[in-house]
Symmetry: C2
Subunit: 399 residues, 2 copies
């Protein structure tokens, strides 16, 4: 349910649904100290915590999602970290390796604030799993949320450490968090991005953030500090950040290779391991793929039509793309893809000076009741500035 | 036919097919002074000159296309310009408006050399026109070519002129050529790109080029100087460059609005004008869309199979995408899209330090003769690093 409570951050209204109580579902788990919204839908049982909000509730809040309703993807228990003692170690191909405290970050670097949509690479995987189960769990269409993030530019921090040149081996920026991984072979969650993505502020806007919607991060979102990489899948945005290592090679950790990849349709779990498909560089996912979803009508929604009365129903949904590309068109089909109706688009986001769009947008279309009644199924597709669109059918992959 | 003649430029072998003779098809036209390859396929009659090479010949030359076989898109006659007297006027939102001679460009700025694939936005439009004729003429699948270009960074030139800040109104870079447009309302060809594209060298690599494959530009390719914008459609790469104007608004010229746009499928030529669809900003094309094509087997190619002999046929083709995104996967289907075979990819291009891919790549797949014989049609699709792929069916548009 939408609320009128909230704060304005960076010019954007951030609705707030404050939660102070630990959910009884978290009793007797390692997370029994973290207050969580009781309506969040848990996708992997009680623990670890992986959840999305009810789709209707997500949609009703509009552009910015209250933090307590933001989707969460945790591989293990969130670590208990303290603001005052937390440190970020920065090393590798830099001239001045350092350890930064939170206070160092807050006082020594320029602060930036911007809205960014975070999306789990598995958003809507349930629809694929209904066709044929893969190895990933089933996200509905609410595995995404938008917040206003405040922090510092990763570029500024790396410049401060004297990052070496590309030809001197500073080609990748590896980042790791404090979250110990029960399933990850005794390791901590880590991944990497290229030097270019880390350093080209105009094109990528990567930040180290300590505030979400005007408040300190919550444990589920990476307290005290996390990475935010606009336009990228959530899986690269390290939470509980502890280590940044500039290196010649990409990160070598377990989840960097064995997660967030899209393999060709013929490759199942056994072949993926036996034939080392996880290590083929062409199948990594970084950029978000173009996507759109219908939030109204909802599943099983009943629309009451007054007899003899002609009227319309307002269809609604969201759309997003990757790489900063603006969603330029959303279309609905009520006749299985033969004809397409143009929807009205709303982009609440102010694009960056470089013209980048890092947030979801919203579409709506008033459809005649009679058209809705005759339609066997509704289809939606989005287009972006690169002339990319969603395919008519998905291509199954093992993730 | 491939040739062993050529030069190596920037580490890439550039085959050469020198042409010195004016084609008799150009007699009694304004182009009767320009030597052209007689095998080029003229798509709009004799004049203006719009051509593509025979697809087989394009494919046989491989990564770099000889200049004389590079596709050409001219709106009118190429202007007769002289190296010594040519000037580029740079003004608008800059602190130091200047006029640069070719000598100024060659001596005052750092020189760069790089391979870039140029593609006409209409590449393969013939297939769409066969479904329903639009207002654009019919390109086959050879409306693209790759050259090694040498010139200077547009960014360096704009910095030299003291380009103002984005907030001071330097938001677009308008560029115009010396080509007078018979059909353009008494104007010259012009268009614009954003400040970000012009200035962010790492992400966009825009150059003002005077050399193609190690030789001065030919009249058809913009002698003495043209713009090259990697990853963008050819329609933004001004030839015979005379003017650069930095401005608050995008370019206002005829062809900037009435060309190189993709409108929704329901909008035909009459509605586009009556309802001013050409002026809606969301339908402009800048980035190349992802594409792939089959070059072997060719249309009407006859494959001879020895009776009783089992063998394979090597299918071949090209693929490209926009925005610097690498083509990561190409797949063939011989059963109308039910299953897809993974092709072998070759990327002759060395990516930039920022990981950008500005050139086409090549795919091949050995198919059993019997599979080819049973197949009703072959289908090819490419994927890029943004997880974009080609749709199963095209979406018709008026252009």
């Amino acid at each position: 349910m939408a609320t009128s409570h909230g704060v304005t951050v960076g010019g954007y209204f951030c609705p707030q649904v404050p939660i102070t109580k630990v959910d009884e579902k978290d009793e007797k788990t390692p997370d029994d100290w973290i207050p969580r919204h009781p309506e969040l839908i848990r996708l992997t049982g009680r623990h670890p915590f992986n959840c999305e909000p009810p789709l209707k509730e997500l949609a009703n809040h509009g552009f910015i999602t209250p933090t307590s309703l933001h989707y969460v993807r945790n591989h293990g228990p969130p670590p208990k970290l303290a603001w005052d003692t937390h440190r970020i170690r920065i090393g590798g191909a830099v001239n001045n390796p350092v350890e930064l405290s939170m206070n160092d970050l807050l006082t020594n670097f320029e602060r930036v604030t911007m809205p960014v949509t975070l999306v789990c690479a598995g958003n809507r995987r349930k629809e694929q799993n209904m066709h044929k189960q893969g190895i990933g769990f089933s996200w509905g269409a609410a595995g995404l949320s938008t917040s206003v993030w405040t922090g510092v530019r990763l570029r500024d921090v790396l410049d401060h450490c004297g990052i070496k040149s590309w030809s001197d081996g500073a080609k990748h920026v590896c980042m790791g968090g404090a979250d110990y991984l029960p399933g990850g072979g005794g390791s901590y969650y880590a991944t990497s991005i290229t030097r270019h993505v880390a350093m080209d502020w105009d094109s990528h806007n990567v930040i180290l953030a300590w505030e979400q919607n005007g408040e300190k991060l919550t444990p589920d979102h990476g307290y005290p500090i996390r990475v935010v990489i606009p336009g990228y899948i959530g899986g690269r945005m390290i939470k509980w950040l502890t280590d940044i290592t500039v290196s010649e090679q990409e990160d070598s950790s377990h989840y960097h290779y064995h997660d967030n990849r899209v393999l060709p349709p013929g490759i199942d779990a056994d072949r993926a391991i036996a034939e080392r498909w996880w290590y083929k560089p062409e199948y990594i996912i970084n950029d978000l793929n173009i996507n759109s979803a219908i939030t109204s009508p909802g599943h099983d929604e009943v629309v009451t039509v007054q007899p003899g009365r002609v009227g319309t129903y307002k269809c609604k949904g969201y759309a997003y793309s990757g790489g900063g590309r603006k969603v330029t068109r959303v279309e609905l089909s009520f006749d299985e893809g033969v004809t397409w109706e143009l929807c009205t688009l709303t982009h609440p986001e102010q694009p960056t000076p470089a013209g980048k769009h890092w947030c979801w947008c919203f579409w709506e279309f008033d459809v005649e009741f009679m058209c809705l009644l005759r339609s066997k199924q509704m289809m939606v597709r989005a287009w972006d500035t690169g002339l990319n669109t969603q395919p008519m059918n998905f291509t199954w992959n093992v993730m």
